[in-house]
Symmetry: C2
Subunit: 456 residues, 2 copies
């Protein structure tokens, strides 16, 4: 009796039933590690479909494939597409670049940044000037910049333990480098790839010209980290060297694409919606296996695990493959637009878009009450080495989603290797470990189970 009383006190003070939840989480992890489909689905997305840049054939195939997977799984009450017009940017021919020193050419690997304009057909040749920041660019001003190519070469800071902090800190060069350089009359912008490692992969990613008029826009490309090191070294020896690059990328008209949605109708409060997703589109240099094939198949796995465990959620669970996260965010916008229009009530939104690595926890957008409630569940996750629940960003596709009261969560996998592959030609299936991917899916499923059971 004494033990029961103590247990009751514990349960009521923690606000959850430790034992049955422990068992349920055990069952969830067990399912994900022994009976999941997500790794095979990722193999298909990666190796049979390949890249899924918005508006591409790959993206179209991925819509069909994931819709079919949802339908065939039997895990959903409803599967449907949500129409969304997406931008279509096309890379064109493989880019070319070299450093020119006294008639000698040193080839370096580059890739056009997403959204960039092309160079002229004969390419751009100009003196190149290295800067470490947008601020340094501003200090140099038009006098030093006009007519030149600007080379943004600030590396990601290796001292941050959280790799995403370094990405955020160095990312302004890629996102705004061309826009800012064009204001001072630069003729091109070359940006060091957002990659800690020294290797030969240029890393793609979006750039924005903001409100710069079309005729003032300048072409911009990422250079591999090894290429950046060579260029910087050569510049020290010969400050007047010239750089050549050529790219033929272009923007086509917007095309029709889709968010793919599978829904499990809630048994008690179906009007309350829990959404979980990843983005189906990817950059075009590889297969987007980590970014974000992993998040898509993990989201599918949430429903798969619930089905295998015969768990009937109280609230409606919606699994969403968002389209166009990489270069527009139109899928997330459309989802939010229709949610508002249909007067929907979302209580929880989760995104997995940080790679298919060993899960470490979640970053949470929540008021203190909800945040503390989720923190209380930490002991349930510790057997799975999930320890880190912090306040932070949920995910790009859910960031604008509003509701009466909503908690958002982003899965936080181990971040150390993410930028080895991010937006680069090596983001392929063999870079994903089956167990790490599955543990992520189990961790997502577990938090959704707890939210579904106890509310926010």
């Amino acid at each position: 009796m004494k033990r029961i009383t103590l247990l009751s006190i514990l349960v009521s003070s923690l606000g959850f039933s430790q034992t049955s939840d422990e068992e349920q989480l055990k069952a969830i992890y067990n399912q994900a590690l022994t009976n999941s489909k997500c790794y095979a689905q990722l193999e298909y997305l990666s190796n049979s479909i390949g890249h899924r840049l918005s508006g591409s054939i790959g993206a179209e195939k991925a819509v069909k494939y994931t819709k079919q997977q949802m339908e065939e799984s039997g895990a959903f009450d409803k599967v449907y597409l949500q129409e969304v017009m997406v931008p279509k940017w096309v890379r064109g021919e493989k880019e070319e670049a070299y450093i020119k020193i006294k008639g000698k050419k040193i080839q370096v690997p580059i890739c056009a940044l997403g959204g960039s304009i092309a160079t002229s057909k004969s390419g751009v040749t100009a003196e190149i000037i290295e800067v470490q920041s947008l601020k340094e660019l501003e200090q140099l001003g038009a006098e030093k910049i006009k007519g030149k190519i600007v080379f943004f070469n600030r590396p990601m800071n290796p001292a941050n333990v959280e790799a995403f902090h370094s990405y955020r800190d160095a990312g302004d060069q890629r996102r705004s480098g061309a826009k800012e350089a064009s204001k001072y009359g630069a003729v091109g912008a070359i940006v060091r790839s957002l990659n800690f490692r020294l290797d030969d992969f240029p890393h793609a990613g979006g750039t924005s010209y903001g409100d710069i008029p079309k005729e003032q826009r300048i072409p911009t490309a990422a250079i591999s980290t090894n290429g950046a090191e060579i260029l910087s070294k050569q510049l020290k020896q010969n400050p007047n060297l010239t750089f050549y690059f050529k790219q033929s990328c272009y923007q086509e008209s917007d095309v029709l694409s889709f968010n793919v949605i599978g829904e499990i109708t809630g048994t008690v409060t179906p009007e309350n919606i829990i959404v979980v997703g990843g983005h189906l589109d990817s950059w075009d240099l590889a297969d987007g296996s980590h970014d974000d094939g992993a998040g898509c198949v993990q989201s599918l796995e949430v429903a798969n695990v619930f089905k295998n465990l015969s768990y009937k959620p109280k609230n409606t669970i919606r699994v969403v493959m968002f389209m166009n996260e990489e270069n527009g965010g139109r899928g997330g916008d459309k989802y939010q637009e229709l949610s508002l229009k249909n007067n929907e009530n979302h209580i929880f939104a989760m995104e997995s878009d940080s790679g298919g690595f060993t899960p470490r926890g979640f970053s949470l957008e929540a008021d203190d009450t909800s945040f503390n409630k989720i923190q209380d569940w930490k002991t349930l996750f510790e057997p799975y080495l999930i320890h880190s629940f912090i306040k932070g960003h949920g995910g790009s596709d859910i960031q604008d989603l509003t509701s009466k009261r909503i908690v958002k969560a982003g899965l936080r996998p181990d971040s150390q290797r993410y930028f080895d592959y991010h937006h680069a030609a090596n983001d392929k299936f063999d870079a994903v470990n089956k167990r790490e991917l599955e543990l992520g899916a189990a961790t997502m499923t577990s938090l959704i189970y707890l939210i579904d059971k106890y509310g926010i």
Copy 2:
């Protein structure tokens, strides 16, 4: 004043000075992530030296290289070798194996297990019988086993989150399969590789014949997981199929080798020794970059970081490259033997021998007082996502080390990928991520710093 009082209470209750230790750990992680040598040293060990099986030329070169690195670093007061006789097992020619069905041969990848005897020159051909455990072998008995090859095919259990638990549970087949099968008159033993993944790498590792007389010993090899799946499937279709394998491994006489030791003399209590190490030897199929090149260069890095931070330890710090962990443990034994002989007092021993992956914590062999003290330091480690301090094994090379009062610790890196590479031909430099390796080194250095400062 009030704040100071509160702080004093906090400090005395926690038993350490939060702020200065926070700063010191920050400096340690910063050093390791921005100014470490360990990744370059691992590249040399892996790519310029290669495998380091006890008694091999690689092992000899690795002794010279790490001694030289210690000497050149200026981080040590004393660098020396410790003589140790080690077994020399040689693989010989590449092994060959195939399944024979109605005159058709299906090749499968195998490797002789370390310590195994050779087959005859013409190989072994026999019927093969699949078992899932040593217990099943016993149940079948001599009647079913005699004259056959035994195929141990129990996979590692994917349901364990901690991969080492699955390794431990499935490992009896490799360690004792041949010994046990020989008791029932088997003519060979083929063991499923200890690898969660389905791939084509056979994984080496030691086997033991125990006290089985030489003439009764039978040859044994590991088969790749894909090979095991094929073999099992074929056996279901044709229970009488025969298997062929050939290997020419042999044991030579013991040879002289060395533990490599670097010592920083303690400034206050030099008689108290803190030892940190990894093992310099590796299996012979690849470069042993994770197992255990990583642990060696991380241990070297501990001294490097102390030097760069001008930290003078109170106790003597000994960095040891142990020889022959993989097939004999003679280096660890010799270290302990000489420690006893010299009446040394070890207060702390740490080993890193679980791969160069993102560190998660430590497994600790400690009495409750010391264990709780280390647990109290957890908040210092949390900014680096180190959360997991559990009671458990320290490491093979330090397991027999005794002293008046000693705490032992094993670095616990993330375990999910370890068995993708363990003892196999893909345990190469490119399987190690620089940041993950460095974070491990920083984590080791941090705990040693705290132990050195506060004692056990």
